[in-house]
Point group: C2
Amino acid sequence: MYLNLCFLYSVISKLLDPQSAAIVGASPKPGTVGYVLLENLATRFKGRAYPVNPKYDVVELWGRKIKFYKSLLEVEDDIDVAVIATPAPTVPKILEEAGQKGIKAAVVISSGFAEAGNVELENWVKAVAKQYGIRLLGPNCIGVYNAYTNFDTQFLPVERAGRPPPGPIALISQSGAVATAIMDWAARRRLGMGFVVNYGNKADVTEVELLEAFAEDERVKVITMYMEGLKYPGEAKRLLDTVRRIAPKKPIVVYKAGRGSTAAQRAVRSHTAAMAGTYEMYHGLFKQAGAIEASSVREMFDMAKALATQPTPRGPRVLVVTDSGGMGVQAVDALEALGLEVPEVPESIAKELKRELLPFAAVSNPIDVTGSATDEHYKIVLDMLLPTAFFDMALVVTLMQVPGLTKNLAEYIIGAKKYGKPIVAVNFGGSELVQKFEEALEDSGVPTYPTPERAAKALWALYRYSQVRRRL
Amino acid sequence: MYLNLCFLYSVISKLLDPQSAAIVGASPKPGTVGYVLLENLATRFKGRAYPVNPKYDVVELWGRKIKFYKSLLEVEDDIDVAVIATPAPTVPKILEEAGQKGIKAAVVISSGFAEAGNVELENWVKAVAKQYGIRLLGPNCIGVYNAYTNFDTQFLPVERAGRPPPGPIALISQSGAVATAIMDWAARRRLGMGFVVNYGNKADVTEVELLEAFAEDERVKVITMYMEGLKYPGEAKRLLDTVRRIAPKKPIVVYKAGRGSTAAQRAVRSHTAAMAGTYEMYHGLFKQAGAIEASSVREMFDMAKALATQPTPRGPRVLVVTDSGGMGVQAVDALEALGLEVPEVPESIAKELKRELLPFAAVSNPIDVTGSATDEHYKIVLDMLLPTAFFDMALVVTLMQVPGLTKNLAEYIIGAKKYGKPIVAVNFGGSELVQKFEEALEDSGVPTYPTPERAAKALWALYRYSQVRRRL
């Protein structure tokens, strides 16, 4: 059994990270799905790419000659994955050829299967895959984006849909369009996402297996999941067991869409033919298993960013440092609403702080260095308080609009990482200084957020994860 | 009494929208507060500016000769507002000169009053202002930003803290730094904010009077308020009465910071010496009076943007159109959680839609035109459903990453405004197409949001406002 599982995982990791790929349905005609796939794999993929299309022989593209194969069987080299983007009725035959060629993994992009009412065709495809021992992702999916090798079966051109840089976050998405939009958004924000997978109709490879594969991949530090609903009996139990096993080792952040009543159920059903189930059921399942639940796509990545870069806190006590009293108040509101603590600064330390900061600074928690603060004031507070046993993490508000702050402040905040406690920052505004400052922090592993509420939720996720680690 | 009130309001509107201003403490030295104020008012203000500083005579600045006056009394022309940025102890004497000169309004930027423990000095300033009938904003404030005339007493340079373009939103902020950060953020997003006022220690002019002034100004379509707490006995009652009177005519959106327990109270007290009060008290007050409450600064502007541009809906029924089933599901979740309705499409219309849209489109509500949609599919849905009596507003999700959509879609959505019902859009991503599309919509008065949750909250605010209008 163990060997068998290992074998399965290694095929799935090949599906996610192949050395070679065939593109069946590759096309030299710009504007087609087959062209985008060919461009992705022939010009950016770090592995070997084999275009398959009987209509073409050798075509000059991107300044070089591209050879098209008549069929998979014509390719002489080994192929890790067959990417299939031909009309639905042709897929069973192509899969059969893949099987004969000894290919063990396929991504079926094509639509026109169960989602369009063609359940029998989908069952036929499943049967062929099973017969040849092919693990199949899809059909009706955007497949895989691997930022490390640019194995990329997303069929929208880069100009329209950006691709994120490599990084510690993996996404498993039930919705193709949501995955595409997330990638485009992450690309703009330089959010590192090593892997994005959309499994479409889930004829074979399931989200549970993808979870397992990412659990094993050391480049993945946080797994995010966008889910609408499960499909088959027994899946909830398997998901529960898998999350429970993985979560203590690697954080899993889940956003479950389709929470509401009839209209939400109707929407889920018509979208992925999945049953949304009562939201309470999923909520209970995630909580019990140790997944961290987000209440929106954005929040999922706010949390993932912190989980991927910050150490696990030892407790719920947050130090708040701010140059805006108003932002400090908002931070405390948000932290307390989430059940985190904002304890007072012990009197002896407060006295010492009083000497070092401006006379009108507030030296209790939140510590308000005021709008007249300099970079050094933040350094003093962080160095004096973060190493003590009184605080488990820090939320640092830096409204850079005040006159005394410079980009050097980033170094001081990054420097405080040496105390081994989570630090998140809040920046708000739009000037170049704000943007540069944010980039400096993010590039050195200090996640930044535009509002105190979002930063607080990220700290909450870290604290929640510390409990998952402890409990399980 | 009526005449007296009118007189008061006209002085306050002069304070917010003067034709002429003196800058006491103006300085030719870059990097000082007096320099930024001088630069604001001498180079960008559309009215007349009179620098006052006995240390200087005529100085060449920005390629022209700037005359400095020795005192306010030396200026021969009439002055609407004295902007005072000299050390705190000098302020009473300067106010006295303003009074002798017949100036009726002053913005005192200087700090070092009650907020620093100098209560007597602040009382003295109040007494002088009262004696001469001067209405005084501050002290310890950033004062006024008027985007129409660039009357701008914000003392941070534009490079560090952006200024928003003119527009229908006014902000009354208890926190100076929060106001500054909001302006910088709004400037980047091109969010139109005609007026921003921070009242600092509130020695004289109060938030209630500012509310009254904005209620009267036709350029202001929505009033936003950032509050931490009230200060004096009887203020809650006055605020309640004022909001109740204004709200049915002009929407008021409030974000009250300082909601939590001891730590939040502590933070508010040390920040503005105000009592946070129980949050429940404020919540009850706002609800009763007809203010729309936001739960964060960002949400306040999400709502304000919709209230400033959209008609009042007749009911809670939302039409959801989407090209991503997943986003549709999220929208329904969010709408239903807020008590809005997502009714089914009547069968006869659904049949007709079925003929016009793609065969695998979902024609119930949410209507999923699918990732294969073209611009025209959105037009068909909006034209067929929005004019009917079945829907009161529309939430349109346009993930522009899908291949069939172009920037023309913006025109169709903007065109649907003719049905006189609120429309908000959801866009997510980062490519240039997404950004251009968003700008086109926003510039034509269709507010866009990056997540379905935020768009739903904006529709909720519109519905809530329709109830305020009806009820009061």
